[in-house]
Amino acid sequence: MRDPSTILISIVLPIILLFLYGYGVSLDLDHLRIGLVMEDTAPDAQTLTKSFTDSRYFDVTIVRNRRELIDPITRGGIRGFVVIPSYFSDFRNRRGTTAPIQAIADGSETNTANFFQYYVQGAFANWLTQEAISDNLRGLPRVDVQTRVWYNEQLESRYFLLSGSLAIIMTLIGTLLTALVVSREWERGTMEALIATPVKTGEIIIGKVIPYFLLAQLSMVICVAVSVFIFGLPFRGSVLMLFVVTTAFLFSALGLGLTISTLCKSQALAYQIALVAGFLPAFILSGFLFEIFSMPVWIQMITYIIPARYFVQCLQTLFLVGNVWPLLLWNLVPMFLIGSLFFMITKYKTVKLL
């Protein structure tokens, strides 16, 4: 506790990270900057333009010539543009022809490009419906789509990103901090001194783990408080269950940290391995930002041994849904198994070394 870097990792870093995830990481596109090329100015084209400018998803720049948009799209100033060609209303009002509207997305921002196309499609469909009403065309659209999003009605990406990011923060404290501090003790030789005393190995391990466990729980409390009171995250599960789930996860994360420090015994190496084996998988393979089912099968297999995967699912459920018993209980089992494995390795290795 006396070392300032411990406080830094366990209190300051989580809060910084939480603010970064809360404000910085967002997948919600509210103001997509797009261009609109109006080569045609007939009433049809005007109403179509209006349906784009009225959409809350777009910030529209209207130009007359598509060349004016080449520079902004290369620079990244706009993410795509819509072209209403000069023959648009001509074609629309003539029998036997169909008026095309081009929607061009900047494919180098792949996710944004997909959203651009969906939003453009939405605005276009709205326009079609309105035109159908004003033209008294009956029966369009044939099938109405009613979309219901459960547990996150406004589709705020912050809700799931923040609850998932708690898993990353806990990995950081559980694994990185433990690995660093315990490997420093090995490096300085104080660990050997401790082992030479009559205290049993198991007791030493427990003694080493308890302070970090408490520290991590403390920072979990701070993080949950910040998420709920500052970021307005709903919490629909039970606090007791959150404690149980966190304990199970910390059991495995601390176990990993201890194992790393016992095997490496040097700070530099422990740091690197803790990053590669603890932090990066928690970030990339836990499913908190990147969907696990979209990954190749061999990577999906790897995610099963990553405790953060189960923890992320539990957290998102506890925050947004509530107590879904089958899901929570089934996720507890692998975390305990992985944790026990790590503690066994640590105990075995510590004994053997003497």
């Binding site: 870093l13 910084i16 970064l20 404000y23 910085g24 990481v25 596109l29 997509l32 290369t74 629309r92 022809t97 008026a99 095309p100 929607a103 061009i104 180098s108 921002e109 792949t110 996710n111 997909n114 196309q117 969906y118 499609q121 276009f124 469909a125 035109e131 159908a132 065309l137 029966g139 369009l140 659209p141 099938v143 109405d144 789509v145 979309t147 219901r148 999003v149 459960w150 547990y151 996150n152 589709l155 990406s157 799931f160 660093l180 700070q267 530099a268 190496l269 740091y271 990339i284 990147f290 969907e291 979209s294 990954m295 990577i299 699912q313 998102q316 459920t317 947004l320 879904v324 899901l327």
Partner: protein, 369 residues
């Protein structure tokens, strides 16, 4: 003076390369990371598990279900049998979406009344949910159009033609590889620079350097150049892998790429030196590096676009070199970005480089006088 600097650079390179562990830790992880991250870090949505509840036995509903089954996007479809199953299906995350078709569906359609399809989505995954619902709407719209044609109803004769420039098939790899090339280069360069100073500090050999005939600017140059070399090497290696193995097209000018790469790497080693001028132990340097890396990766536009961030946060991203380099790398890879736009992103990095190098020189001098 040149000879002294060269000697120091040579010593640094030896220090990094002599130790097999650190030699491996510089070359191997970025390559493995490139391979795994490219496949795993994908916001692409495919193989989505969904549920379908079809309570209608009519022909139209069957037709619509078949269209969902035929889509390559959804290849794991569970058929639900009752409304009660929906809640537990979504709650336990067996799937992201349930398509619910009611009993009246075919009857309504056949008698020219609007029919309703409900999409129930899991809000715990809002990004995926939106993509999946967008995709489902496309399927249903096409169903509508075909149905209208079959029924002989007059159509609106306007059609939307979607196109994707620079990445016609919307491959996420094409986005990932250029971004990872510069992010991983940044990591390697930063680690080499900060570690080389803090290790010497801890071992006490840094004081020996200070009493040697080298003056402080020379030491700084000698400490920066290995980081720059590692960064350039790393960048070229990853560039080669991206082009040759992942087949990402490189449409722009190689010269412009290396120019901005060079300025970028200079800025990063400047930051590395700055961090290590503040730290006195290896552990502090590692934490310092980590504290720098987290926000710069998260706020650079790599994970999520900058324009999604709140407007007060966006100016902060101007301080992050990676932000400019990401735009340049992606632009040069995919868009054949012209020189004036590339240079527009280069000068902010140059300013960061000059500033951090000067400040760390001042800090070092103050510390050792």
């Amino acid at each position: 003076m040149i000879r002294r600097i060269l000697a120091l650079i040579w010593k640094e390179i030896l220090a990094v390369m002599r130790d097999p562990k650190s030699r491996m830790s510089i070359l191997l992880p970025p390559v493995i990371q490139l391979l795994i991250f490219t496949k795993a870090m994908t916001l692409d949505v495919k193989n989505v598990p969904i549920g379908i509840l079809n309570r209608d036995n009519g022909e139209q509903a069957f037709e619509l279900v078949q269209r969902f089954r035929g889509s390559p996007f959804f290849n794991r479809i569970v058929h639900l049998t009752s409304v009660e199953e929906i809640a537990s299906f979504i709650d336990n995350q067996k799937g992201v979406m349930v398509v619910s078709i009611d009993e009246q569906f075919s009857r309504n359609l056949n008698s020219n009344r609007p029919a309703v399809v409900q999409l129930i989505l899991d809000g715990r995954k809002s990004n995926t949910a939106q993509i999946v619902s967008g995709y489902s709407s496309t399927i249903i719209q096409r169903f509508n159009m075909d149905f209208a044609v079959k029924a002989g109803i007059r159509q609106q004769n306007a059609v939307l033609v979607p196109r994707f420039w620079y990445n016609p098939n919307v491959l996420f790899t094409w986005y990932n590889i250029p971004s990872l090339v510069c992010t991983l280069t940044m990591l390697a360069c930063l680690v080499v620079t900060t570690q080389s100073v803090s290790r010497e500090r801890e071992l006490g050999t840094f004081d020996q350097l200070l009493v040697s005939p080298l003056v402080i600017p020379e030491i700084l140059i000698g400490k920066t150049i290995p980081g720059i070399l590692v960064g350039m090497l790393e960048g070229s290696l990853l560039l080669g892998l991206g082009i040759l193995i992942f087949q990402v097209p490189f449409t722009g000018s190689l010269l412009l790429f290396f120019l901005s790469q060079f300025v970028f790497v200079c800025a990063i080693s400047g930051i590395g030196l700055f961090i290590s001028s503040l730290c006195s132990t290896q552990q502090q340097a590692m934490l310092g590096t980590f504290i720098f890396i987290m926000p710069s990766v998260l706020l650079s536009g790599f994970a999520t676009p900058i324009e999604n961030m709140p407007s007060w946060l966006q100016p902060i991203t101007y301080l992050i070199p990676l932000r400019y380099m990401l735009v340049n790398t992606k632009g040069i890879f995919l868009k054949a970005m012209p020189a004036h736009i590339v240079l527009n992103n280069v000068w902010p990095m140059a300013i960061i480089a000059v500033f951090t190098l000067t400040v760390s020189a001042i800090f070092f001098r103050r510390r050792f006088q």
